[in-house]
Symmetry: C2
Subunit: 284 residues, 2 copies
C-alpha cells in the first residue's frame, strides 16, 4: 500500500478483481477496504493456494521477508507477480523458493510515477515462465499501458528496470549540469529546458523532471532520494558482479550521498539537480 | 558547403532565395551552381552591402576567419546570420566586429543531423537584435521546423546549443553504460534500448542514437568525434569561465579523447558507446 502499491491495488479493484490486501504497516488499507477489498493480517494469509499474488514493496529485503517460506507454501502452485524494483539475484532467489513449493515467480517491475500508476499508465517489464506471464496478463492490462517481455530468465526484467532508473537519474544530472552552466552564462534554466524538452528531448523523463528542475519542486517526493539511491546501489552491484564499469553511475551515487549528508532524505529524485546548482554557487 | 551547410543552402535555393555561395575548399559548390546558385571566390565577395549572409562552418576559428574585417566592411549595414556551433564569446566578438561597420550579427545555431537539415527539420536557436532576427525569419522558415529565441544578448543561443550537445552526448554515454551492464547480465542491448526509447525515453535523441548503438553503426559519421569533442571543449571553457563544474562533461571528454587515441576520428558521436562496451570486455 505504498506510493505505487496503493494505486495499483485500486486499479485492480476497479478492474473487477476480488482483492485481499496486506501491508506490513497496519492501517494503510482502510481506503481499499471501503472500496471492497478485504485485509489480511500477514503476508502468508494473503495468498490462496493456486491463486495469484502481486507484491510491491520498497526493497529486496522487504520482498524476501514478505515472500517467506510460509507465504510460498500457502501459495502452492500459484503465481507470485513481483513488481518491486529489486536485483535480478533476488528474483532468482524467490523463483527458486517458490519452485520448492511448486509455485511460479514472475518478475514484473514497472516504470511510472505514482500519478502514472493512478492513471493506469504504468509500463510493465516482465520475465519468467511464459505460461505464468500469460496468466498474469489480465492483471497487467488492469494497471498499465503496455507490457515488454524479456524472456524466461527471471532476473532479466529487473536488469531492464535498473538500467532504466539509471538512465532516468543520469538524465536529471545532465539537465542539472547543463542548467547550472546556462544560468551562470545568463540563460534561465526554464528557457533552456523548455526548448530542449519540446524538441530533441521531447519525452516524459525530460519533460517531467525538467519541469521539476525549472520549478525547483523537490517535495513532496514521488520517488524519494533514499529509494533512488537504493536503486543505484542495486545497479552498482549488478554491474560490478558482471564486470561492467559505469562511471556516470558512480558519480550519481556520490551526488545522492551528498543529498543525504545534507539531510534532504525527503526530497524527490529531481532534487539531485541541487548538487550541480550548489556546486556552481547557485541557489534554486 | 559542409554536412549541414549544403542541405541548408539547397533548401534556401528551393525556397526561392537567390544565392551566392562560398566554400573555403573549392569545388564543393558544383551541385548548387547546377541548381542556380552563383559561386564567389572569397568570403568578402560573397556578401552584398546591406544584404544578408548565412555562415555555417566547423569551428570558432573558421567563422572568425571567414567573417574578416573585409567581409564585415563589405556587408556594411547588412545582417550576418551565424549558424555554426561556436562559443558565446565568439558571437560577441563577431557582433562587435560587425557593429564597427554598422552591421548586425545574429547567432542562430541549429539542432539536427544532416538528414534533418535536408528535410527542413532543423530546430533553430536565436539571439541578437530583435529587428535582425525578424529580418532573418524567412531564412529560418525555409530551412527549419521551428525557432526558439533567447533574447538580445548575442551569445545566449550559443550557450543553449552547447548545453544541448552536452545533453545529447551525456545521453549516449548513459545508454552505453546501461547497455554494457545489461548485456553482461544477459539482456541484449536492443531489447533494453527499444523498450526505453519507445516509452519513457521516446524522443529523437534516444530513438536515433539508441538505434546507432543497437546496430553498432559508427560510420559514416553525420557528426564526427573530432567535431563533438570540439563542442565539448567549448562547453568546458564556457562552464569554467562562468565557474560551473560539470562532472559528467569531464568524463565525456575523456571518453572522446580515448576514441581519438584509438584512431577512431572518422566515427560518429554514437561511437562514444564503444568506450563503455570495451571497458566491460564486450565487442560490438
Amino acid at each position: 500500500m505504498g506510493k505505487l502499491g496503493l494505486p495499483v491495488a485500486e486499479n485492480l479493484l476497479a478492474g473487477g478483481f476480488s482483492l485481499l490486501v496486506y501491508n506490513r504497516t497496519a492501517g494503510k488499507a482502510a481506503g481499499l477496504v471501503a472500496k471492497g477489498a478485504k485485509e489480511s493480517k500477514s503476508s502468508a494469509e494473503t495468498v490462496a493456494s493456486g491463486g495469484m499474488v502481486v507484491s510491491i514493496v520498497s526493497d529486496d529485503r522487504a520482498v524476501l521477508d514478505v515472500a517467506s517460506d510460509d507465504f510460498c507454501e500457502a501459495l502452492g502452485s500459484g503465481i507470485h507477480v513481483s513488481m518491486s524494483t529489486v536485483s535480478p539475484v533476488t528474483s532468482r532467489t524467490l523463483a527458486e523458493r517458490h519452485a520448492r513449493f511448486g509455485g511460479q515467480f514472475v518478475a514484473a517491475p514497472v516504470f511510472g510515477r505514482p500519478e502514472a500508476a493512478a492513471a493506469k499508465k504504468l509500463w510493465i517489464c516482465t520475465s519468467g515462465a511464459a505460461a505464468s506471464k500469460a496468466a498474469a496478463k489480465p492483471v497487467f492490462d488492469a494497471i498499465g499501458q503496455g507490457v515488454f517481455d524479456f524472456g524466461e530468465e527471471v532476473g532479466a526484467a529487473n536488469v531492464v528496470k535498473l538500467a532504466g532508473n539509471f538512465l532516468l537519474t543520469a538524465a536529471i544530472e545532465a539537465m542539472a549540469e547543463a542548467s547550472a552552466m546556462a544560468e551562470k552564462n545568463g540563460v534561465p534554466r526554464a528557457d533552456l529546458l523548455n526548448m530542449l524538452s519540446s524538441t530533441i528531448f521531447n519525452c516524459p523523463i525530460y519533460v517531467n523532471y525538467g519541469k521539476g528542475i525549472i520549478n525547483a519542486q523537490f517535495e513532496p517526493a514521488g520517488f524519494s532520494i533514499p529509494l533512488i539511491l537504493k536503486d543505484m546501489h542495486l545497479v552498482q552491484k549488478t554491474a560490478a558482479d558482471a564486470r561492467a564499469p559505469m562511471p556516470i553511475l558512480n558519480l550519481l551515487i556520490d551526488r545522492y550521498l551528498t543529498m543525504l549528508a545534507k539531510g534532504l532524505d525527503r526530497y524527490d529524485a529531481v532534487g539531485l539537480a541541487l548538487g550541480a546548482a550548489e556546486d556552481a554557487g547557485l541557489r534554486w
